[in-house]
């Protein structure tokens, strides 16, 4: 009897705020005309590196603000997390097994577009449409400065560097974060001998947790590693690369073609007039050194 009462009370407290979500039958369209009629665009973001700083700015925040100004609507920031962001923008719940995605139901739409340093991955492309690549990245292996593991000596080729770096993870614990670009399965860390430690907190806290002893090594993408290298100067070291170059981009629901097209036109103008280059220089002044092909010196970002 007591357990039944507890269950009923729990259901009443949790179900009421969620009622509006479970009764949604299909996600209403929220393409450009609907957004302009509503007068605001909801930007789904997660505090991550310098894309969304959490202090009201960041590369992606500034960019979406400019986009809102161009299409004549107010800007609204909606915070989400890495597990929920696709459902928040598509209104669909889903299950993922490897690169396979199965739609399981519907939920409330909380945002109109995603922009928070999201890496383009095949399974994500089954849920959302990505804009043209906006930012390059790569996965690096990081160790505390006190670690006995030494950085690799570059071999002259990226494939060679990756092979040498993978040898370093054999038999040691490596911090990773499922369902993000740092998902251990994307790089088969366990299959290559690493003891994977799955991390559930914010991506921004992986470096301090590494220093706190949660694992021997961690993987980070380049933008986050550049931020961590400055913040934890002298306390962490970069060992080498674990992936080929990847790309980050904003993402849109597949049924918002007009919004996607408007953003594509906006990005073409931003790149042509130097606006995008100035924003990248503001938030990632060092990225030119690592991706000279994507960001040619003195030229406009691709």
């Amino acid at each position: 009897m007591r357990a039944t009462m507890i269950l009923l009370l729990a259901i009443s407290l949790i179900a009421v705020p969620a009622m509006s979500q479970t009764t949604v039958q299909a996600a209403p369209r929220h393409d450009l005309p609907e957004i302009q009629a509503a007068g605001k665009l909801r930007h789904l973001g997660i505090p991550y590196a310098n894309f969304v700083t959490g202090a009201g700015d960041g590369l992606d925040v500034d960019l979406v603000r400019l986009f809102c100004r161009e299409i004549g609507v107010a800007y609204e920031y909606v915070e989400t997390d890495w597990d929920r962001t696709y459902s928040d923008v598509t209104g669909l719940t889903f299950k993922r097994a490897g690169s396979e995605v199965t739609i399981t139901g519907t939920t409330a739409v909380r945002g109109d577009m995603i922009a928070h340093g999201m890496t383009v991955l095949p399974w994500r492309q089954k849920l959302v449409n990505f804009a043209e690549p906006m930012f390059p990245t790569q996965i690096w292996l990081i160790a505390p400065a006190t670690s006995r593991t030494a950085p690799i000596t570059p071999t002259g080729t990226l494939a060679g560097d990756i092979a040498v770096t993978f040898k370093l993870i054999n038999g040691v614990s490596v911090l990773a974060k499922p369902n993000t670009c740092l998902d251990p399965k994307l790089y088969d860390l366990a299959g290559r001998g690493a003891q994977v430690v799955n991390y559930e907190g914010s991506l921004n806290h992986m470096a301090p947790n590494l220093l706190g002893g949660m694992a021997d090594l961690t993987i980070l993408d380049v933008p986050d590693a550049l931020v961590a290298l400055r913040r934890w100067q002298g306390k962490i070291k970069i060992l080498g690369p674990l992936s080929e170059p990847q790309f980050m981009a904003a993402a849109f629901p597949k049924d918002s073609p007009k919004l996607e097209a408007a953003f594509a036109e906006f990005m073409v103008r931003c790149r042509a007039d130097g606006t995008y280059e100035n924003l990248v220089r503001k938030y990632y002044p060092g990225v030119w050194a690592y991706f000279p092909d994507f960001f040619p010196k003195g030229g406009h970002a691709q």
Partner: protein, 747 residues
Amino acid sequence: MTRRPDIAGILRRRPWIAVVGVGLPAVALVVFLIQGLYTSRQAQRATFVRDELAHTSALSVSLDHFLSGLQSDLTATADRREVSAYFENAALGLSLEYGLRISLLDLETEFDQRLTRKLPGGQPLFSRLVLLDATGDVVLDSRDPRRDPGAPFTTEWTPPPPGNDATPASDTDYLPAEDYLLLASECRVLDRHEGWLLAFVPTATLRAQVLGEASAEPNLLWLTWEEHILGGEDLPSPGQLPDRLPMPGQTAVTGDREHLLSCVRADHYPLTVTRASAIDGAIADSPHLFLWGLVALAGMSMALSGLVWMGQLRAQALSARLATEAGHLRDLAARQRELEAEIERRLQVEHDLEQARDDAEAASRAKSAFLANMSHEIRTPLNGVLGMTELVLDTSLDDMQREQLEVAFESGRSLLTVINDILDVSAIEAGAMRLNPHEFAPADELEKIRRSLLVGIQARGLHLAWDVDTTLAPMMLGDPARIRQVLVNILGNAMKFTEKGTIGLSVRVAASDASRQFLEFTVRDTGIGIALDKQDMIFEAFRQADDSHTRRYGGTGLGLHICRRLVAMMGGQLTLESRVGEGSCFRFAVELPVVQAAAAITAASPAPPVATTPRAAPRRLLVAEDNVVNQKLVVTLLRKWGHEVTLTADGVEALAALYSNTFDGALLDLQMPNLDGIEVARQWREHERATGRPRLPLVAVTARVLPEDAALCAEVGFDAHLPKPLNSRLLAETIEQTMPPAAVLQP
């Protein structure tokens, strides 16, 4: 009759007398004039030489200061984070491809900023910056920034021996082949010599600096570094230069006697300044001095002309100064326009930010209002149930009645725990849970937890192992209530599932620097343990490791789920290691900023001792409460403890009672008709400020228990915030702690 001498006749007879009488005074006058003029000329010459040396000395001091400033600037650059970052990362073995190039790019940006600095005339302060490593190889050369580190430094310069803490090494040298002055500053990281930062100062910059001070003709000024004339052979010749420039501190006259050369050496550098000043015949050693006597009148005219000439010179100088001031005024006006434009732009940005913030706050307020109402509506009747049950328990009852009421009381408290957990889960799921970070003393908070657990642990025959790192900062910034909630929950579970042995808490500083500490909390027990396949399950909402646990030990299975989410909000991760039959170990780590000692003094002051005896001393208390059941409960409790109670049913009545009576303290419900408790507190504090009345202790007694409610109470001037359902012991403690008794009511 006496005959008067005939002077005219005498002079006619002895004409030499006339010659001597007139000529000697004339000759004496001429000699006197010549001697006077000669003495005057000597004095004028000495003054001229002294003035010229003083002028040249001033230029030398100015140049000395200028070079010292450049050296200080270079030393500051060598101490920059960008320099230490490169050497630290290089020492860690980072390769250029993976990490080290970012340090080089930061250095290049720093160099670029330094190289853009110029004199008002456009001459750069530094024309080139070079960073050398400890072996003397080039790390970064601003002349070729894209070149990878490791090339040898080819310029002819030998590094001096590295310095030490007391005397940091620095050096200055002149490179005649390239006509640069080279400044060097040692780079040290963690008290280790790492290399040298070199700056090239063009001699043209030094000359421009001096010429700007002297307003002199370029070809009448020479700078020399030891034996070298800076500027080399391109310097225009002033004409009949002596074979050697004068020694420092001395003067010389050029061969054509048209210029006076004055030379002074800088105090801190082997650098001399030599100027040539036109004499204009003013102090020439003329062989025809006697002509001065003949041109005395002409001299008067020349003196007058000189006065007019000096007046003209002063007028010209004044005009030049006025022109310079006008230029400055134009620059200031332009700068003011730029500042006004910048202010306008920032106001627009602030407006946009405020709009975005208002939108976000509106959504947040809607979520918070739902949770606050739900909390209030459940807690208010539960307050009546628990309070009244407690009151009845305090009367004479037979054993069966007491046992039944104790069951009802414990059931109510269990329900309260469940509601608290469910409200926390609801807040987390709705995204309404917020941390409330503020300064707190971690050691004090941990001690409170230890004391609260000690009785229960000893009653169960268990041993408590308590280990707190002594390097824990005295004051930190965080949410102590949430940290306490996590620790109490985990320690409570440990007590629940441990029948014998030890329960322990360890707090360790895993990493730290001056501004933050990374704290690792570990809770161990020797209880029943958790099977490996159940360890993930216990962190899920409404789940326990085994349904039999629910039947045997009770609980909703929400506690660890909430703990894990709270730890994640603080940036950490709650993990578990456990073996069946051996016990469990829960661990999490959070990073907290350290509050510096000066800021922590006030917060760290010891709290006044708390008297917990309900009957310690009677007070005159005002109670404002609209719910009839709660009125009865609070009034009965307070009167039972001997307090004199005035009851009001809403905020307007409460305020009226406060204005017309004297109380030792007031207990105010927050949610009341007509005027709520928040507004009562706000208006009463305003009244106290306006009238100078002594501060009355105010305590909020409310079912609004969310963190933002407590924060709002503190903001409007409440001294304490008590949640409903009321804990009678906590109420008694709060009254004792916050409300001093009145002397007239002392028994």
